[in-house]
């Protein structure tokens, strides 16, 4: 019920499908935040598309009363690229998970970012395979015991943000499933970004990997460990903003007590830096979300867009029959009477 002129509400984005995630799953909070913030954009639901891959996150498309396609494992960025290449008038969102985006779909993810396809990619990172019932994912920590790694995972995990920054994504951010203020803020910034936006959302899976992000999600611990990145502001955190980030002479970033280092020594966050190396260093400040970890917009720069939005032929008008006739007759022709 979205007559033009009527303000949209959260209910306009809720589909009639019964949500089937496990009780307490972080996905509920993300769904609610997305449905709650979308009305702000003022885009009618018929011009919004959610495209998903396989995994628990993949079900997201069914719960949004927008257009939606639940695709195949890892391929949502490719499907979304095809749509964005041809339809500049749509707001296209990809919802994916750590296995979907970083394992089976890694190639599509980095190329969608490289091309700067105008899609928003939300990666729900729970550091585990949920839908297939608990195997190690490419973001699972070393030594993690799962059904497929009974003696502990051997392999070094990916940092999704470092990967996205390596692909020189134009918008890279991180937020938390249950942060009802920070999550919509980041979504808002992603929606405002013209090109490809990559948002990692730490998402708790209470069934297979409970508590993976407690140092950030828990109220008390979170206050001490979340390092909020705000463009143009010195990077500092802690309940009393008593800690901060400085850049050493060799370029390394280090966490310091503000009292020792002095306020002027703090690194001022610049999300608009063309060179992604500082954002990369911030992503590596916390290799795992087990201590102080930056959240917020790491990088937001402008670059030419891929596809329909980038060309003059936005409307994609098809040639008429006369032009077709001319095309068929192009080059050397001869006539037989």
């Amino acid at each position: 019920m979205t007559a033009l002129g009527d303000a949209l509400t959260k209910a306009d984005f809720q589909s009639d499908q019964e949500t089937r995630w496990c009780p307490g799953c972080g996905d509920y909070a993300i769904l609610s935040a997305v449905q709650g913030f979308l009305p702000e954009l003022g885009i009618p639901p018929e011009r919004i598309v959610f495209m998903t891959g396989i995994g628990c996150a993949g079900r997201f498309a069914y719960y949004m009363d927008t257009y939606g396609m639940h695709g195949i494992h890892g391929r949502a960025p490719a499907l979304a690229t095809g749509l964005a290449t041809t339809r500049a008038d749509l707001s296209i969102w990809v919802v994916t998970g750590d296995g979907d985006a970083l394992s089976i779909g890694g190639n599509h993810l980095i190329h969608a970012l490289r091309r700067n396809v105008p899609v928003k990619i939300l990666l729900f990172n729970n550091q585990i395979y949920g839908l297939t019932k608990g195997q190690a994912s490419p973001t699972s920590e070393r030594g993690k015991i799962t059904k497929s790694t009974p003696f502990g995972s051997h392999d070094r995990p990916f940092d999704p943000l470092a990967l996205a920054l390596g692909a020189e994504a134009t918008f890279v951010a991180r937020t938390l499933d249950t942060d009802r203020q920070h999550l919509p803020e980041v979504l808002r910034a992603a929606a405002a970004h013209a090109g490809a936006a990559f948002v990692e959302i730490y998402q708790n899976c209470p069934v297979f990997n409970d508590g993976a992000f407690d140092v950030l999600r828990d109220r008390a611990q979170g206050a001490a460990n979340r390092i909020p990145l705000v463009h143009g502001a010195p990077i500092r955190f802690g309940a009393g903003l008593e800690r901060g980030v400085v850049r050493e002479a060799d370029g390394d970033l280090r966490i310091v007590d503000v009292a020792d280092a002095g306020e002027d020594a703090l690194l001022v966050h610049d999300a608009h830096r063309e060179d992604p190396s500082l954002a990369f260093a911030l992503a590596r400040l916390a290799e795992r979300p087990t201590g102080p970890t930056p959240i917020g917009v790491f990088r937001a720069v402008e670059r030419p867009l891929h596809g329909a939005a980038a060309t003059r032929d936005r409307e994609r008008t098809v040639a008429d029959t006369a032009a077709l006739d001319a095309l068929l007759h192009a080059g050397d022709t001869w006539t037989v009477a």
Partner: protein, 613 residues
């Protein structure tokens, strides 16, 4: 000039040289001149997979064959009348294709000790009696070309020698009386920005022509008159790639849907990506995807958005696309997948032709996922078949596989240009919001079993689709056993029902024919030529050719059963024969060939006579 002119009805010329010698270039130009002269023609480029295999070796040989005639012809010719051999390897690699008495024009300058060794010759075949059965003309092409370019500004000896392929073109143009002005204009245009190369190539071309006129080696010039038995109309030359591209654009125009081709580079399908990329603009866009899977995904994403989504690939790429094609079958969205078949398995022989993906196209997906499969018969037929593939995809909301092959995509023939206004309109029939407030059912079906297509942006029709099994009608996720059985049946029925709108299989049968030769795909020309030869012997025979392989035209069973014997020639180990035996319980005999070469009329003639014995 004192030369005699002899009339020929048909001639087969094969240009062969090193891959760096520009044989495809001069072959293509000779073809253009021949087409403009009004001869019927067919061509067969034959080049190595390596871009530059070691110079002078047999794997490095690149050849271009053209068959032209004053009557209608059907194939690029089995055996050349004239072989142009630019080096010993080219001679050695092609000698076996020649019949006794054929003419060989050899660039004797290239028959050096080193080149002879590289080609594996112990002694010079131009000097011993190895070529006694042939009419050999030794022409010092490199020397004559460099001499012709002497004194030209900015042209060094090496640059000049490189133009020797144009010398060969000039000589052959003289030999068969091809007009020169078109070729000279072509050289001028081609090298417009490199005056030195332009002058060297013009000089080489003219030197080749005047060599023919003045040399005493060649006493006879040949004439092949324009073909007279061709239908009236305006013609142009096309290869299968160009015709496919034009067919897709035509379908885009006649459906009003912009076209997106997403492809990943692969031989020989890349040509279509190149071709359509040149037409970017009004309603046509191409993307070079990061991989085969992304390519088909992008095409499907575009189709979801209400566009004509197409992807093209060859053998190994089809394997990778299978999962997404299955998704398209589940989503019931239009998608055109073009498989330019090549010799396999695995990387196989990428530049060689085969028809061995038929059963994969029909069955190569998990689960029950039926879809229409079509195959083009000739380079020009690629236009109509591509148009038909797009029409079926759009009107029936289904992935369609169009089978072409390396032979079709590279071969060219004169093509009667269709009247654009006479092409049928294709109706995408997008869904619109129901006015009476009834809910939108994305999987409700019309009488043909076709579901509504509601691209994003359509107000009031927001809905979700996906790969999970869906409830009949509503499209909601469903794990209900009975519903899955119903949906499987409905998906099969709606594809099978397409048969009702297909034209019946056309039969070309003599009275009293005991044998039906049934073909599909690019062996069309060879089959017709072989059948013509058999008929010339006074033996009655019947012939038919399938464009639609899934679903088959409704009368296929009747046609098969009308003849005591059926022979199916194909470039695989008998895939269509296997299929027809299974479906119709008819004792089909297979004529199978998997050498990477197209079917030849002569070998098939023998097979037909044997089948009749």
């Amino acid at each position: 000039m004192g030369k005699t002119v002899e009339q020929r009805e048909r001639v087969v010329v094969r240009f062969a040289g090193d891959s760096g010698d520009g044989m495809q270039l001069v072959g293509g130009r000779f073809t253009d001149a021949t087409a403009l002269l009004g001869n019927d023609l067919a061509t067969l480029p034959d080049f190595p997979a390596e871009i530059r295999a070691p110079a002078g070796t047999i794997p490095g040989v690149s050849a271009f064959q053209i068959h032209f005639a004053s009557r209608d012809i059907l194939t690029p010719g089995d055996t050349p009348n004239v072989l142009v051999a630019m080096n010993p390897a080219a001679l050695k690699a092609n000698l076996a294709t020649l019949e006794r008495g054929a003419t060989i024009i050899a660039n004797e300058d290239a028959f050096t000790r080193r080149n002879l060794e590289r080609a594996g010759y112990a002694s010079n075949p131009l000097e011993d009696d190895a070529l006694a059965d042939f009419r050999v003309h030794r022409v010092p092409m490199t020397t004559l070309t460099t001499r012709a370019a002497e004194g030209l500004e900015g042209v060094g000896t090496r640059d000049a020698a490189r133009a020797k392929n144009l010398f060969a073109l000039g000589l052959l143009s003289w030999l068969y009386g091809r007009p020169t002005d078109g070729t000279e204009r072509w050289i001028e245009a081609k090298f417009a920005r490199r005056p030195a190369a332009r002058d060297a190539n013009l000089a080489a071309f003219r030197a080749g022509w005047s060599f023919g006129e003045t040399t005493e080696l060649l006493e006879v010039q040949y004439r092949v008159d324009p073909a007279t038995d061709v239908a009236p109309g305006t013609y142009r030359q096309v290869n299968g790639t160009t015709a496919t591209a034009l067919g897709l654009i035509a379908a885009s125009v006649r459906s009003g849907l912009p076209l997106l081709l997403a492809s990943y580079p692969i031989t020989p399908a890349s040509e279509l990506l190149h071709e359509l990329s040149r037409h970017e603009g009004a309603g046509v866009r191409t993307v070079q995807a990061e991989d085969e899977i992304a390519a088909v995904g992008m095409a499907l994403g575009a189709a979801y958005g209400g566009h004509l989504g197409v992807t093209a690939t060859s053998g190994p790429g089809m394997d990778l696309k299978a999962e997404t094609i299955g998704l398209a079958a589940m989503l019931e969205l239009p998608l055109v997948v073009i498989d330019v078949q090549r010799a396999g398995p695995s990387t196989g022989m990428p530049t060689k032709t085969e028809q061995s993906d038929l059963l994969m196209a029909l069955h190569g997906r998990h689960g029950e996922s039926p879809l229409p499969v079509l195959a083009a018969a000739t380079p020009g037929d690629c236009f109509e078949t591509a148009f038909e593939a797009a029409r079926l995809a759009i009107e029936h909301r289904t992935p369609v596989i169009l089978l072409s092959d390396g032979f079709l995509s590279n071969s060219s023939e004169p093509w009667r240009i269709p009247d654009a206004t006479a092409l049928p309109a294709i109706d995408p029939a997008f869904a619109t919001a129901p006015s009476n407030g009834t809910p939108f059912l994305p999987y409700a079906r019309d009488a043909r079993g076709v579901r509504p297509w509601a691209p994003p942006g359509t107000p009031g029709l927001q809905h979700r689709i996906g790969g999970l099994e869906k409830q009949d009608g509503s499209g909601a996720i469903s794990y209900d056993p009975a519903n899955h059985a119903t949906m499987t049946r409905l998906r099969a029925q709606r594809i099978a029902a397409i048969a009702r709108e297909l034209p019946p299989l056309e039969l070309d049968a003599d009275d009293g024919a005991e044998l039906l030769v049934l073909g599909w795909g690019s062996s069309y020309g060879a089959i017709r030529a072989a059948v013509r030869r058999v008929r010339d012997r006074g033996v009655p025979v019947a012939r038919a050719h399938l464009r639609h392989l899934e679903p088959l035209p409704p009368n296929v069973g009747d046609v098969l059963r009308a003849f005591p014997r059926v022979l199916v020639p194909e470039l695989n180990t008998g895939q269509l024969a296997y299929l027809l035996r299974a479906r119709f319980l008819v004792d089909v005999r297979s004529h199978a060939k998997v050498s990477g070469q197209p079917l030849f009329a002569a070998e098939l003639e023998t097979a037909i006579l044997e089948a009749l014995a």
